[in-house]
């Protein structure tokens, strides 16, 4: 837990400690809620942080995001957070359950997914994601799980949201391995490669929010969470981090947001 845990806590929340992850998750949920309100509801979610934030948004907002899981679940409404992508709960509460080939072909590849919601081990300045290896591919210092569904989610979703804890180890100038394509080596790469989606439009971290510079496609800090300094962000970023002209401060999680998060976490 970061110093956020010790940040002044509004009385409204009572004694409940709000950690940096809570702030990150709540902000991700808010973004999904805003996108749903704007008509971008269909969200292909990975397990872990994306699934937690997406389910929080589903409980907080109307219209709610429609959750798609790569196990073939369309419109899942789990009452408890799944440990795996294929928990029975995801199928039991889905509008439709389809095969794995179908979820990727008829739903993702066909362009029916508004938001691809991803995490990763490494993220670089052009929002490419590494979930494969740290070090070289043939002699890795750390073998990570691998790409899974991410390459095609990153390619075909109308837009991509990333949720990751920000640190110099994870936010690197260039990924050791490019598992999923963000903006490649910069402007025009996605178009050149014929990737239909807009790519990563927002990276939500435990420190704030990064978004691609419209010109350079480089991720720049556009918002900070309360109590987070620019120096802290710079230190937690492996490339010379730039800040947007108008960096905003995110709103501290409300009692309603935190209580709902606790409810789904404890379910």
């Amino acid at each position: 837990m970061s110093e956020l845990a010790h940040a002044p806590v509004p009385a409204a929340i009572g004694t409940d400690e709000i950690g940096a992850d809570d702030v990150m998750i709540v902000n991700a949920a808010r973004s999904l809620g805003a996108l749903a309100a704007a008509g971008r509801r269909v969200c292909f979610v990975g397990i872990g942080l994306p699934s937690t934030a997406a389910n929080l948004a589903r409980r907080l907002y109307d219209p709610a995001p429609v959750l798609i899981y790569e196990s073939g679940c369309i419109g899942s409404k789990p009452t408890r957070l799944p440990l795996s992508i294929g928990d029975g709960e995801l199928g039991d509460t889905a509008d439709a359950v389809v095969s794995v080939p179908e979820i990727f072909a008829y739903w993702l590849q066909a362009g029916r997914i508004d938001i691809g919601f991803l995490g990763g081990a490494q993220l670089d300045r052009f929002a490419n994601i590494n979930s494969t290896v740290i070090g070289t591919y043939d002699a890795p210092s750390t073998r990570l799980p691998g790409a899974g569904g991410a390459p095609e989610i990153a390619g075909s979703a109308r837009q991509v949201m990333v949720i990751m804890r920000q640190s110099a180890r994870a936010f690197v100038p260039r990924c050791d391995f490019r598992s999923s394509m963000g903006f490649g080596d910069g402007p025009g790469d996605r178009q050149r490669l014929g990737l239909p989606g807009d790519g990563p439009t927002m990276v939500i971290t435990d420190l704030g929010i990064l978004q691609p510079d419209p010109e350079s496609c480089e991720l720049v800090m556009t918002a900070l969470h309360p109590g987070i300094t620019r120096d802290r962000c710079t230190a937690a970023t492996g490339w010379p981090l730039r800040f947007a002209a108008d960096v905003t401060e995110t709103e501290w999680p409300t009692a309603a947001e935190v209580n709902m998060l606790r409810e789904i976490q404890s379910a």
Binding site: S71, L83, G86, G88, P101, F104, R143, G149, P151, S180
Partner: protein, 297 residues
């Protein structure tokens, strides 16, 4: 026409050293009992294929059954790393493991092409990733009508495909429901096929969301109740998340892993004995009163 046989004889007659074996089940219906039997029979030099290697392949790889792995995501879902897989890739223990790596969409396309009798499939995928540099199974392909460039990917037709399902009837017709995942494509892409099932019935009752695969398209059906544990079979069991967490500790260390395999798998005659050995009795898997802590490992 599927033969109803014991898991031992199905594995003995169909799975020999050096062949390519796909054991599928996307979190749901993972054929763990079949994996154990392969370890028990001491198979070696297998090329293992699976989208999500998971604990089932961590066991086979650590036990030295495999020299090649084709996969798309190799972790312990919701828990962390597959330590045996990592130890094999990072430190060549117990020996070198060649890997061929894909995306989920790519693997699904490969199985679908294999099940369809096509030598390749087409998808929008892999573009802009480094995956393309480490496999010979994908190649660019141009649409003859639009000129657009897409990705072609070689079909998968494993020598043997193994899945777990809920039910079979006496003709070997198999019924699967819930998260059907990649079960059908993985099975139909296999040159030979083994299906372990929770129960064998006289007639398959109508079931919501059920997929039925005719017995004449299957080689062997084996009655192995709870054969997916710690994975689950919708309608019969729940995922034993606690076992997945415990596996992290068991598998982290080579000695504790080897001791566990020797004691609970090599050291047991069959799956029933294994289940008693790890303290999983019927009661602990009864849906009513399921004891998720029942796995004393």
């Amino acid at each position: 026409m599927a033969e109803l046989v014991s898991l031992q004889s199905a594995v003995k007659s169909l799975i020999s050293d050096g062949i390519t074996v796909a054991m599928e089940g996307f979190t749901h219906l993972i054929p763990h009992a079949a994996g154990h039997e392969i370890i028990r029979q001491g198979r070696r030099d297998l090329h293992l294929v699976r989208m999500t290697p998971d604990v089932i392949y961590d066991q086979l790889i650590g036990a030295g059954c495999a020299t090649k792995l084709t996969f798309s995501w190799g972790g312990n879902p919701g828990v962390g790393s597959l330590h045996r897989l990592r130890d094999a890739v990072e430190n060549q223990w117990p020996h070198t493991l060649a890997i061929e790596e894909h995306s989920h969409a790519g693997m699904a396309t490969r199985y679908t092409a294999g099940a369809s009798g096509l030598p390749f499939g087409v998808l929008r995928g892999y573009v802009g990733t480094d995956l393309t540099e480490h496999t010979h199974s994908i190649a660019p392909i141009t649409c003859p009508f639009t000129g657009e460039q897409l990705t072609s990917i070689a079909a998968l037709n494993p020598d043997v495909s193994v899945i777990h399902a809920q039910r079979a009837d006496r003709e070997g017709n198999v019924q699967i429901w819930g998260l059907v995942g990649i079960q059908k494509e993985a099975l139909l892409s296999g040159r030979a096929t083994i299906v372990t099932v929770e129960e064998v019935v006289d007639e398959l009752p109508p079931t919501y969301g059920a997929v039925v695969i005719p017995g004449w398209a299957i080689t062997a059906v084996c009655h192995v109740p709870n054969g997916a544990h710690p994975s689950f079979a919708m309608g019969f069991s729940e995922r034993d998340n606690e076992f997945y967490r415990r596996w992290d500790a068991i598998s982290k260390d080579r000695d504790s892993f080897t001791e566990w395999i020797d004691r609970h798998i090599i050291g047991t005659a069959d799956y029933d004995e294994y289940r008693r050995s790890v303290g999983l009795d019927q009661a602990s898997l009864d849906l009513n009163g399921l004891d998720l802590n029942g796995a004393h490992v």
